[in-house]
């Protein structure tokens, strides 16, 4: 699996499609920290949402970067479509975690905060960024060209999902009482964002619940994708 991940990272970097999502994430983070000092958890909540959006774009560009025939051949050499899909997920996971660490460490080493972050808040930031990044990737799995043929449709759906995800808490306020359970269908970005922003004033349990929610939500999305993708044909177009 390591050789597959290395090959995929090399293939992705050679394609240069990584540039736009990486540059977008880095520019947004740099702009956010251009003024100092910044409040710790509010800043981390904002960069976690940036990472969520960035990872959705990164996931889509990664999953579409390979030529379908190239994908077919890699699968034949691997002797398993499931292994191929697993390799894609692992590669994207590596990229998301790399960005996670970069984004969390950057303000610490450059002194962008108004106070010491402390271990608890750093750990929470790492977890929140990682989970939101992985959620962005999980969403992109369903928007790749082998699932949605037209790139314009995939981009439109992705933007719609991002907007609904970020505005989830506000949207559920407008739902009638009997339909509030629908909030569980929305990607849980806003609950995690709220928990991170208020981490200093709410209990540990109140922080953990949204993190658990997003973990289960992402795992279900990835599991469903794995189930469907394993049954799909690997066509040459």
């Amino acid at each position: 699996m390591t050789s597959l991940v290395v090959y995929m990272l090399r293939s992705y970097t050679l394609s240069q499609r990584y540039f736009a999502p990486f540059a977008g994430i880095l520019i947004a983070v740099l702009v956010l920290y251009s003024y100092t000092p910044n409040p710790v958890m509010n800043s981390y909540a904002a960069t976690a949402v940036i990472l969520f959006i960035g990872c959705a774009c990164l996931g889509l560009s990664f999953l579409n970067h390979e030529h379908p025939v190239q994908r077919q051949l890699t699968t034949v050499h691997l002797r398993s479509i499931r292994k191929y899909n697993m390799g894609c997920l692992l590669t994207l996971g590596v990229l998301a975690l790399l960005l996670d660490v970069l984004i969390v460490v950057y303000p610490l080493v450059t002194g962008r905060f108004d106070e010491q972050a402390g271990l608890y808040r750093i750990m929470l930031a790492l977890a929140g960024h990682a989970l939101l990044g992985l959620l962005g990737i999980a969403i992109s799995l369903f928007l790749q060209s082998s699932m949605i043929k037209k790139a314009s449709h995939a981009t439109g759906i992705m933007l719609g999902v991002i907007i609904v995800s970020i505005g989830g808490t506000k949207i559920t306020e407008f739902l009638p009482g009997s339909l509030t359970y629908l909030r569980f269908l929305l990607p849980p970005v806003s609950p995690v964002m709220d928990a991170m922003m208020n981490a200093d004033v709410i209990s540990g349990v109140a922080v953990l619940v949204p993190l658990l929610h997003i973990t289960i939500y992402t795992a279900l999305l990835i599991g469903f994708y794995g189930y469907r993708a394993g049954k799909r044909d690997m066509n040459k177009n």
Binding site: L4, T75, V76, D233
Partner: protein
């Protein structure tokens, strides 16, 4: 010998066959691209897949490669079968041949030494050694096809699947590939390849599998027999395929299939040995059938009808 089953229909040993397809069908968006195709692939045998564009050859190869799931039917493959696959067109990647082949070798689980030795050997053989460090996005079609073949031969496959392997190759490369495939055959590799030129069938194939509109119209064991035997192709109407099932056991029968493409009503196309064509014609008429056309096909020239029809009617007579 363990067997992996495709659609989970049958779990039985396949004796010495590398792979077997049993009544395999494949449907894409409501369109049947393969219908009830059966074939057995044996070690050390070369099977030529013949058919017009869109007849289902590439889909059949993709199914054998494990890339496409079947809609119905069963696939049985020898457990841990090592497959080499060269699709019809290889993309111009930004990798250099070295980078790409090393990556594929590692993914296959070859050691670094094995990869280097095998890669150097194949690049030399295909006269691509001077280009080993150049990005492939500037390669010609023929060079890309050579890389395609090299990656399929990187490990020594037990089953080699080649989709139009001669496409884009110059004459010396074509002859070298024929020689290479003969050597692989001697070493026990089973080869299935699709082709549009009769000379490569004659040069390589032990078996013929002719597809037309996704259906098997003829399977031929032994090419010498085919080239020596003139056949007759008879198209007739007013009879049903089911009524004529017993013909399959009669001497001289080669194939029978429904022909709908170019006739205003369903017809049947019958291929029989030329020596017994009069007897079959008589039977068609006695049963109330009406003969639409009778065409003699002499050995290889008959095959050309299935590969590269000279007229639309030629292709439709299948």
């Amino acid at each position: 010998m363990g067997i992996k089953t495709g659609k989970g229909i049958v779990e039985s040993p396949a004796e010495a066959a590398c792979a077997e397809l049993e009544a395999v069908s494949k449907m894409y968006t409501g369109h049947m691209v393969l219908q009830e195709v059966s074939m057995s692939i044996w070690p050390g045998n070369i099977t030529a897949l013949i058919g017009r564009n869109g007849s289902g050859k590439s889909t059949l190869l993709s199914i054998l490669a494990g890339l496409v799931q079947v809609t119905s039917g069963a696939i049985r493959r020898k457990a841990d079968l090592v497959i080499g696959y060269a699709p019809e067109a290889f993309p111009g990647l930004k990798f250099t041949p070295e980078q790409y082949l090393r990556s594929m070798g590692r993914i296959r689980g070859l050691s670094a030494r094995e990869i280097e030795v095998r890669m150097a050997e194949l690049l030399e053989l295909f006269h691509l050694a001077p280009f080993r460090g150049q990005p492939m996005n500037n390669f010609s079609k023929g060079m890309l096809q050579k890389i395609n073949l090299i990656q399929s031969l990187l490990v020594e496959p037990e089953l080699l699947l080649l989709d139009e392997p001669m496409s884009g190759l110059d004459l010396s490369a074509q002859n070298m590939l024929v020689q290479l495939l003969r050597e692989r055959k001697e070493q026990g590799t089973a080869v299935v390849f699709s082709v549009h030129e009769p000379q490569w069938v004659e040069a390589l194939a032990d078996h013929l599998h002719i597809l037309q509109a996704g259906r098997t119209v003829r399977m031929q064991q032994g090419i010498q027999e085919l080239s020596a035997r003139p056949t007759t192709y008879i198209v007739f109407k007013h009879l049903q395929e089911e009524e004529l099932c017993q013909w399959r056991d009669q001497p001289g029968f080669l194939s029978l299939q429904v022909v709908t493409e170019l006739h205003d009503q369903p017809c049947l196309g019958l291929t029989v040995d030329a020596a017994v064509s009069d007897a079959y014609l008589r039977q068609v008429l006695e049963r109330g059938g009406s003969v639409v056309s009778v065409e003699p096909c002499d050995g290889w020239s008959g095959l050309e009808l299935w590969m590269n029809p000279k007229t639309p009617e030629g292709g439709g007579k299948s």
